[in-house]
Structure formats: structure tokens, C-alpha cells
Amino acid sequence: MAHPLSDPATARQALATMWEIRRFEEAVDDLFARGLMHGTMHLSIGQEASPTGVCLALRDDDAITSTHRGHGHCIAKGADLTRMMAELLAKETGYCRGRGGSMHIADVDTGNLGANGIVAGGIPIATGAALAYRLRGDDKVVACFFGDGAVNEGAFHEAVNLGAIWKLPVVYICENNKYGMSFSTEKSMAVENVAEKAAGYGMPGVTVDGNDVAAVYEAMETAVARARSGEGPTLLENVTYRWKGHSKSDKNLYRTRDEISEWQGRDPIVAFETRVVEAGLLGRDDIAAVRDEVVQKLRAAVREANSAPDADPSDLLDSVYASA
């Protein structure tokens, strides 16, 4: 809950989070390529500043809802990398006991109410969680992540409207990475920015550079304050880009090499490192130390996760219903 450029510790934390996301995704990419991971994976390399900046503006007891591209959200909200990796490796020690996998990863204890395999599926859920907090008299806020593609779903529309009319403590965060799989935002909507849709719901809409963790934080801080004080939701649009294909089956036919490398030039981590050094918050050696620590942490996570027991099929039938 501090600006990423306010002090060395926070700067360090923001940087470490972004590196954790980057390295986690790279590890997943690698494990998948080597046939050691199952299913499909949606990586958020290039988008690290958005979850990091957003979650920095949240309290620990605030909640998030996440998406199919949810590893970054989960990490930024404070999940344990080993249990995340264990989930993706289909282990009994994974967050979901191997039942959910990447698209359903959740860590309810750190306030992550769940990734979602359904585009826009989490938006009504976030809205309902915010309603619950209001009804219970909690002053918690929900940060609801979704992509630009999700904005075209009816679920977005219905839920955002409920949030607006009831002035719920929720922030709607569109991670606009320009494509909903292969379909560009130029084609999927007849306006320039997703944030322009906010006016129709009577709420503020803000577009920020989603690769600038400080800008994301600042916009989010304002939105959170608004939400927490009962003034209602904000639609925050973090403009960013995914470097990798949509999922493992993507041949990248719908975008150009040039576009991809242009965005790789706007690496959110490199940009932040430059800024913290320029601001005199961290030295180059601090940065090297952060990188190193993250690499070690990831190695340990993969190692521990790998040696955990496989998900156990024996109680499948008993896992469907909760018991009173």
C-alpha cells in the first residue's frame, strides 16, 4: 500500500514481484515445452506491471478475481510460488489439489478468489464479493481483473452496471493487451479505449500505460480510495501487451513481428529498473540481487513442486460437494 517509487523497500518489492511473474511464466513455458506440463497455459510475460501496480494499492485483506491469464495476479496478491507450480504440475500439494490447474488457480487465503477459464466469468463474481463486503460492513475492496476481450461479453455489462448502481467497493481492471486471442480491439469495438465505456455506466473510466507500474499504482490508488469510501467502482484500463502467443496453440498469424518487438522494447521491468536507479532508490547491485533471489526462489519452487506427490484420484467423488 505504498507508491512503488516512494521508498527503497517498496521499490524492491515491486521489482521482485514483477521478476517473480516473469520468471514464473518463463519456467512454465519451459516446462510446457519440455512436455512436463499438461493442458494449456496463458502466459503474462510483458504484462507484469499491471498486477503488480494494482496489488500494491490493495490491502492484504482486499480481494481479487482473476482470469485464464492469471499467474501474475496470483503472484502479485501474495501466493506461494511452490504451491502454484505444484498446481500446474498436477500435484496434490497444489492450490487446487491438481483439480483446477492454471485456469482455476486460486489462493483464497491471500484474497485471490480464483482465476477463471470463462472469459468475463469473474466479473459478476467480483461484484458479488464486493456486495458481500458491503453487506457485512467490511471495508474491503475487490480488484476485478479481465482482458479487453472480456469487455464484449454480456457478463461484463451486467456486472459493471450492478457495481455502478449499488456503488460497490470494486475496481474493474481491464488489462487491454490489444487482442482477445486473435481478434484485435480495433475490430472488436468501435471506440478507441475500453475506458470510454465507463461513462455509459456512470462511473469514471481511466486509461493508463499498463507497462508503467507507477502509473498503474497511482490510478489504482485513486480507484481504491473511491471504492472504499462508498463512492463506487472505477473502470481502469491498463494498456499492455503479451509477448507470447495467446496460448500454446497460437501461431501468431494475426500480428506482426514488428509489433511484437516494438512492445518488447517497452519492457515494464526494464523501464521500472531504469526509473528506480534514476530516482536513486536502488542501485544496480540491488537490482542484480533481486533478480538473483527470484531465480533462486523459482528454482526452489520448481524443485519442491516436482517432488510433491501427484494429485490423488481416490476421493474424486467426494470432492464435488462441500459438507456441512
Binding site: A129, A132, L162, Y321
Partner: protein, 331 residues
């Protein structure tokens, strides 16, 4: 008048259950379209709005997907929402949240979360509301692991099963037949629970087992009276919950009578009674059958508007009587 004799309507029984649950537990709240000052499309919420106020009896815009999703989220965050969907046909709007989210979250998250919510919706035909307001989709919900499905056939069950549904830590779909709302019956005043997963034996007879749900239970009982006059002694069993399904009493009764008639309002093709038939046919009760299993279902058509067409579309008392007599003759 003693407590046991008190008669109230099915709609009042639902309302009483919700009121008692809301009094007992702050986490319980309602949301739905026109449940506030309007009192609900079928008058079920009635005065709950006055009693509990607009926060806990929450009127919503026409956004079924949004409000069911809000219930899912609220349940995840520790509340116990009860959503009313005006007509069960409009659950079609909310299927993603019901089926892809509510039903699966507990499982997908490896048990780390629960979704204790109730979705109530009136189903069925008989009011001239035509094809988009008269469906019976209970088979769908029953087919989805993770949901529990309740179809109360009496005022007493409308209350007792609903209170059990509200207690349940899982998403429960409660399908109330709209023709039953105004029927009355004895209902205890206290907040009693009728456990989910217990088939009710509504009548016991020696010659024929009728299994029926929802509004078909009373029609079956009426048909049983007529059949009794023809010398046919009929059992009427009401599973009450489609999931969990308490099949044993049904198999036992069928084994005893050797004849079974399965009655539902929904179209027959791949319906709930298909499952009952299958359960019988894969059990030893099969060997006790004196005649083939017989299903009597709604026609495989959308519900028509014209009254005479509408009543021709679903089983009526004389149809049940006739089917029963045919079964006796066949065996």
C-alpha cells in the same frame, strides 16, 4: 388451532422459510427482479421487503447473469444469498454462472472454497404464458455435478426443503411449480428442516408404483384415488430432490408392486424420469417387473399458448389414470 393443523399456501411457506432464515442468520439475503415493493412476480417475497429492507431484499435490474454471478461471488465471500429468477426459463441467461461457476468452484479449487447459495425459480406450464415462460428444465440441473436440485411438491416441503437448501454449503436449485404457489397445506410454524435426499412416500399401494415430481405429485395422488375406485391400489413416491436422488425407496416399492409409472411435466426425451427408468432397469428390481416400465411425460414440444393446447401438452389426471390402467392390463 394447533401448530400441526395450520394451513398456509406454498408461496407463504416459501416466504416464511426465507423470513425465518433471514432472522436467524445475518448472512442470508435475497436478490432478484421485482422482489422489492412489487413483492415478486408471483408474490412470493411479499412483505419481506418491508420487514428486512432494501439491502437484504435487493431489487435488481433485469440482469439474470449478473445477479446470479453476484450471488456466487457473495457466497464465496461468506454470505448466503438466495436469488429469485422470475421464471426458470430465464436461468438460460445465467447458465454460465450456475453451471460453469457455482457448480464447479468447490471442486475446481480443490475444496478451498464453498458456494452456499440458493437459486429459486418457478417452473412449469398452466398459466397461458407460452413457450418462453413455461419450461421445466429440472433435468438439466440434475445432470450437472456440483448442483443440488430440489422440487418441492407441497407447502410443507416448500418450507422444509428450502430451509435445508439455505443451510447447505453448496449451490442448490429450488424449482417451485407456479401452479402450486396458491395451493395450501399444513406447515409447521417453527423453522424445521426437511433433509435433501429423502424420497417421500405420499401413498402406499400394492399394485402400481407411480413416481412423480412437482405438480405431478398431486395429480398422481388424484389419479390414485380414481384408480382405487377401479380396484387398482397405487403407491405414489416423490423423490423431492433430483440430486441427491434417494432411489432405494423407489426400487423397493417397484420390486413390491411390479409395475411402475413415471410421471413428469417436462418433455420425455432425456428427462429426469429417463434416469429413474434407467436406475430401475439396472437394478434387480428389473426382474420383478410384471410389465415394461412406463413413462408419462410432457409432449416433446414447446409449451403452446392456447389453453386447450397447453393442457394437451402435459400429463393431466385422466392421462395418469389411463396410463395406470394400461399398465395393469399389460401385465
Amino acid at each position: 388451532m394447533s401448530d400441526q393443523d395450520r394451513e398456509i399456501s406454498y408461496a407463504e411457506a416459501v416466504r416464511e422459510a426465507i423470513g425465518q432464515a433471514m432472522e436467524a442468520d445475518d448472512r442470508v439475503f435475497m436478490l432478484g427482479e421485482d422482489i422489492g415493493v412489487y413483492g415478486g412476480a408471483f408474490g412470493v417475497s411479499g412483505d419481506l421487503f418491508e420487514r428486512f429492507g432494501p439491502e437484504r431484499v435487493r431489487d435488481t435490474p433485469i440482469s439474470e447473469l449478473g445477479i446470479v454471478g453476484a450471488a456466487v461471488g457473495a457466497a464465496l465471500a461468506g454470505m448466503r444469498p438466495i436469488v429469485e429468477i422470475q421464471f426458470s426459463d430465464f436461468t438460460n441467461q445465467a447458465m454460465d454462472q450456475i453451471v460453469n461457476q457455482a457448480a464447479k468452484i468447490h471442486f475446481m479449487l480443490g475444496g478451498a472454497a464453498e458456494v452456499p447459495m440458493v437459486l429459486r425459480a418457478p417452473l412449469g406450464s398452466g398459466t397461458g404464458a407460452a413457450a418462453q415462460h413455461s419450461q421445466s428444465l429440472e433435468a438439466w440441473f440434475a445432470h450437472v455435478p456440483g448442483l443440488k436440485v430440489v422440487m418441492p411438491a407441497t407447502a410443507e416441503d416448500a418450507k422444509g426443503l428450502l430451509l435445508a437448501a439455505i443451510d447447505d454449503p453448496n449451490p442448490v436449485i429450488v424449482l417451485e411449480h407456479k401452479l402450486l404457489y396458491r395451493t395450501s397445506g399444513p406447515v409447521p410454524e417453527e423453522a424445521f428442516r426437511t433433509p435433501l435426499g429423502q424420497t417421500a412416500v405420499r401413498r402406499e399401494g400394492a399394485d402400481l408404483t407411480i413416481v412423480a415430481t412437482g405438480v405431478m405429485v398431486s395429480r398422481a395422488l388424484e389419479a390414485a384415488e380414481t384408480l382405487a375406485r377401479d380396484g387398482v391400489d397405487v403407491s405414489v413416491l416423490d423423490p423431492r430432490t433430483l440430486t441427491p436422488l434417494d432411489i432405494e425407496p423407489i426400487l423397493a416399492d417397484v420390486s413390491r408392486t411390479g409395475r411402475v409409472l413415471l410421471v413428469q411435466e417436462a418433455p420425455g426425451h432425456v428427462g429426469f424420469t429417463s434416469e429413474i427408468a434407467a436406475r430401475i432397469a439396472e437394478s434387480p428390481a428389473l426382474y420383478r417387473l410384471l410389465a415394461p416400465i412406463r413413462r408419462l411425460s410432457g409432449l416433446d414440444i414447446p409449451i403452446p399458448y392456447a389453453p386447450q393446447l397447453e393442457s394437451a401438452a402435459v400429463p393431466q389426471v385422466p392421462d395418469i389414470v389411463e396410463a395406470g390402467l394400461t399398465l395393469i392390463k399389460e401385465s
